[in-house]
């Protein structure tokens, strides 16, 4: 079995995994970081989004071995101690979730979107969320949360 080493939320981790282990499986089952979800398992829903070297990616469509040497950030890595990331806080304040299943992926995609864009409006946020599906259809408050967090993050 190949050994894979990567940095997850700032910590160096290393494990023997079979080549066909998905990154999301590694994160959830080896590292027990279960904030990253498996929704569709077919790269459509975005519940499994994490950051790979600063770029959002669907961890169900990546092998753990492909992350060799990479810097991974999961939802558990966003908060600083007890201080939630502005995006997390904004989802809480704006009621940006209903059942909560898609939320972690939404937040990870949203952080990447805001980091890389200026002047996000309603349309560009919705376009930016193309890869994330909320089956409660709670998009209104998700968009509102991201708009508010974007202001906070740019400030």
């Amino acid at each position: 079995m190949p050994t894979v080493s990567m940095t997850v939320n700032g910590k160096q981790v290393s494990a023997d995994v079979s080549s066909n282990t998905l990154l999301v499986t590694f994160i959830r089952e080896n590292l027990r970081l279960t904030g990253t979800h498996v929704g569709c398992d077919t790269s459509q829903c975005g519940a499994c989004v994490v950051h790979v070297n600063g770029n959002s990616a669907k961890s169900c469509t990546m092998l753990a071995v492909q992350a060799e040497g990479a810097e991974i950030t999961t939802i558990e890595g966003l908060a600083k101690g007890n201080d939630l990331h502005p995006m997390q806080k904004s989802f809480q304040e704006n009621h940006g979730l209903q059942c909560g299943f898609c939320t972690t992926g939404m937040i990870m995609s949203a952080v990447d979107l805001v980091n890389k864009s200026d002047d996000l409006d309603d349309t560009s946020i919705r376009e930016g969320l193309e890869g994330n599906i909320c089956r409660c259809t709670g998009y209104q408050n998700i968009v509102k949360s991201i708009q508010a967090a974007a202001k906070e993050m740019e400030a």
Partner: protein, 259 residues
Amino acid sequence: MYEFDYKRPGTIDEVAGLLNDDTVLLAGGQTLIPTLKQRLAQPETLVDLSAIESLRGVCPDGDQLAIGAMTTHAEVANKATIPALASLAGGIGDAQVRNRGTIGGSIANNDPAADYPAAVVGLNAVVNTNRRTIAADDFFTDLFETALEEGEIITNVTFPKPEAAAYIKFDNPASRYAIVGVMVAKTSAGIRVAVTGAGPCVFRQAEMEAALSASFTPQALENIAVSADGLNSDIHASAEYRANLIKVLAKRAVVQING
């Protein structure tokens, strides 16, 4: 997924030495991994190209733009100095797919509904491999088939900068794959019209190219009858609907170019 071995060599020569009937190249994996999950392929070994730095990057070189095979759609969208190409790359899939998926992986796969084949053929690019240079018109041969031979690895795609170009697609609202996509370009090799999504493989629309060469206006396309023969027909659109879309999208591309 079936089990497989995984290798990530550091050079193209090492990759070439590993390739045989039972190996598959792994680029961004945005098509290959879902394919493996569905057990539609059973390679013995995956050879990952991601450690080869020379396969990455967008390099403007005079009136050409060379894009490394392992360059992601997101990088092309942000850095390509051909606006129609940047906009095409920015419309592929979603942000997460664009952060992983690569131009080399896309064209080697030659999905009939992929966007890049329209850019490669429409802009008259050349595909460079570890062995040779392949002209766009010779590269895409059939449904999921290309001119690549066993052991041949795409190293980059070189696009001559067009005088003007536009890519318009009618996309599937769920997947963003092209139901039909049309690239119209004014190039040094003349007017080119490349169509993806409509048939089993990207193709040029010669009649439209001739009409636009005579008069570069949407009206010039008005009387061209696009045949539905041989076009794709599925739950998303019938062949007749796709035939109609080819003309509609080509006209929109011309309108966009003419500003």
